[in-house]
């Protein structure tokens, strides 16, 4: 399949992040590894608390005390961002080559600064534009993200914008300095469904026209399918399965992934009943020794008491499970159906 392997634009290696809280050490990330190729879109999928956002913050250098990166590495085009020189490099990348769109557009803009001031600020800092140049470019950017009357909008304050419009502004800010990688952390969660689709279309268009790589963080499998080439599924602070979107959707290996897919309603396939994964993810304060999904897994066995290693799958992905590709939820779905009758 693979021809000459290019260097990934971003590579995360065995990343461990811990938070020191009153109740004890919370292991936010427990060995996360993935990479993003130039121009590629990767989806990080998982339920809330699985470590998706922590991963994004770690890459952006936003993990503040009392949280800290305990071990592992983050590499930008093969160069570490965690060494002292790397941190300097990271500071110069942030907002320019590496940018991020956050979950909540309502609180992500400074309420006392106009939209224009936000754009001018970032353009002047990273693109070294003069004030009038930055303003003109800001207007173009607002236009590019589909905001009408951009010139008038520049002088307005965030509270005069709707949620969807603010997220467009956030995207304009993120792409202002022509980034190579955009991290979008649940960019549509806070928005209405119709607006969600518009924002996702916008991201897809921008990716095509600018050729940028995107890491899309989401708990919604529905929006992954159309947008992403590769998928990594997170559970309890680590990645349990990764692979191309097509293979993961067609033949999920990990029971958790299978459950996730079977719990998402699909228009094109009405044969199966929806599955619900009982229970809750384990506490990251005292995570289990073995497989973290063990307590909720319908096909768990004794070997799951030890942590499964990551292994390659035939389709070119990877999975951390002792019994990959075992159809975990088939019986469950059947029994539910029987009961329903």
């Amino acid at each position: 399949m693979a021809y000459a392997q290019p260097t990934p634009i971003l590579e995360v290696r065995d990343l461990h992040v811990e938070f020191d809280t009153m109740s004890g050490l919370v292991q936010g990330l427990r060995g996360v590894s993935f990479s993003v190729m130039p121009g590629e879109t990767l989806a990080l999928v998982g339920e809330s608390g699985s470590g998706k956002s922590v991963t994004a913050q770690a890459v952006m250098g936003l993990i503040g005390l009392p949280g800290s990166i305990v071990s592992g590495d983050i590499l930008w085009k093969g160069q570490s961002l965690l060494t002292p020189e790397g941190q300097k490099k990271a500071a110069s990348l942030r907002g320019k080559s590496l940018s991020m769109v956050f979950q909540d557009p309502m609180t992500s803009l400074n309420p006392l600064m106009t939209i224009g001031a936000h754009l001018v600020e970032v353009l002047r800092r990273h693109m070294k534009l003069s004030k009038p140049q930055a303003f003109a470019r800001g207007v173009e950017l607002l236009e590019a993200v589909g905001i009408t009357e951009p010139r008038r909008r520049m002088a307005q304050y965030p509270h005069e914008f709707s949620g969807g419009m603010r997220q467009r502004v956030m995207i304009a800010l993120a792409i202002a300095c022509e980034p190579e990688l955009l991290i979008a952390d649940e960019p549509t969660t806070a928005l209405d469904v119709t607006i969600q689709a518009q924002v996702l279309d916008l991201l897809a268009d921008l990716q095509k026209s600018m050729g940028l790589s995107i890491v899309l963080i989401t708990h919604d499998l529905g929006i992954v399918a159309g947008l992403c080439e590769r998928v990594a599924v997170m559970y309890a602070g680590s990645i349990v399965e990764a692979g191309s979107a097509a293979t993961v959707f067609e033949q999920a290996e990990h029971p958790y992934t299978q459950g996730l897919i079977r719990s998402t309603p699909r228009l094109d396939d009405r044969r199966d009943r929806l599955v619900s994964i009982e229970g809750a993810p384990p506490s990251l304060l005292h995570p289990p020794k073995g497989c973290a999904f063990q307590s909720r897994c319908p096909v768990a066995s004794r070997q799951c008491d030890t942590k499964p290693a990551r292994q390659e799958t035939p389709a070119g992905g990877s999975v951390s499970c002792w019994t990959p590709s075992l159809p975990a939820w088939a019986d469950v779905a059947k029994t539910t159906e029987v009961h329903a009758r």
Binding site: D20, M22, L65, P66
Partner: protein, 326 residues
């Protein structure tokens, strides 16, 4: 219910059971243990306890009559300085009165005035707030208009005018300070009641047909205790400072009664030659107010779980930064 309790006793080990029993028997012990963690709050609390004891037992503790004058022992310095007279630990004032004894009795004035004012202004303000928040409509509008108007009054000047007209005395300052300090309780209580009325449990009680008095007593009052406690404690500092200032100006506690503010005023004219008559009473006021502030600070943080977590996070972050530096 039975299932839960039995499964809980299965799991719990003996030491934690003993600990649990101790905690339910001795909330005071738990309170002190929790307080001990915040050294500043503990120090403040300890000072306040000592102060209350000193005020209560002032007649037993004081080495001299606070009003007893002695022409021969005027302006004698504290015991550790040259020229001091034995028996006067902190020296004497310009009339030869024992400063330590006056401080002990002065604590009585401060506490009497502050406790009375906080109790009177507090109960009046809370009642007005309950009425405004619960009745709503015209009652609410009327009460809150009065509050708004009175908050914008020229506070201390009006107090001075009232004192000048009525004539200064301990009773006068209690009345006048009550008059000018009840509004804050009304505002706080009304705010809480308004938000509580919209919570499901109060709405449910209303739908079921509980009487207003019962709703207020059973559902609303318990939710007011913690914020009111913090507010009242902070108001103490304001009243103590106000009493001291009024007494200093000669419009508060009148001789022969004693007050820290009054003593500072008395020593003022001699401060060129003797520092102790104004320093010690002033220090008493400052330390009392500081202790209350430290204790209130601890209380505020302890009663709010989110605040505790934030505080812990800040503490850890500061420690981690220090560790990094060394």
């Amino acid at each position: 219910m039975t299932i839960t309790s039995s499964s809980m006793s299965d799991r719990s080990t003996t030491p934690s059971m003993i600990q649990g029993a101790l905690m339910s028997v001795a909330p005071l012990g738990r309170f002190l243990k929790e307080l001990w963690r915040d050294k500043a709050g503990f120090t403040g609390f300890a000072f306040l306890v000592l102060l209350v004891l000193a005020a209560l037992f002032a007649p037993l503790l004081a080495p001299h009559d606070p009003a007893a004058q002695s022409v021969l022992a005027r302006l004698k310095p504290p015991i550790w300085m040259e020229g001091s007279v034995s028996g006067h630990l902190l020296g004497t004032d310009m009339l030869g009165r024992d400063i330590l004894s006056r401080l002990l009795f002065g604590a009585r004035s401060s506490l009497l005035v502050s406790v009375s004012v906080v109790a009177l202004a507090g109960s009046f303000g809370v009642m007005a707030g309950l009425l405004a928040g619960y009745k709503g409509g015209l009652t609410d509008a009327l009460i809150m208009r009065v509050v708004d108007v009175q908050v914008a009054f020229p506070g201390l000047l009006l107090t001075l005018l009232l004192v000048a007209v009525i004539g200064p005395s301990t009773a006068t300052i209690i009345i006048v300070l009550t008059f000018s300090n009840w509004m804050i309780y009304t505002r706080v209580v009304r705010g809480i009641v308004m938000s509580l009325r919209q919570t499901p449990f109060v709405e449910a009680a209303e739908v079921v047909g509980c009487k207003s008095a019962r709703i207020i007593l059973k559902h609303i009052l318990p939710n007011l205790i913690s914020p009111l406690l913090t507010l009242a404690i902070l108001e103490f500092t304001n009243i103590i400072l106000a009493e001291a200032a009024l007494s200093f100006l000669g419009l508060g506690v009148q001789p022969p009664a004693t007050s820290w503010g009054l003593d500072v005023a008395g020593g003022k004219n001699y401060m060129m030659i003797a520092w102790w008559p104004i320093t010690f009473p002033g220090l008493c006021i400052a330390m009392t107010v500081l202790s209350i502030n430290l204790f209130a600070n601890w209380l505020r943080v302890t009663t709010e779980p989110a605040e505790r977590e934030k505080r812990y996070a800040r503490g850890r972050a500061a420690k981690m930064r220090r560790a990094k530096k060394t």
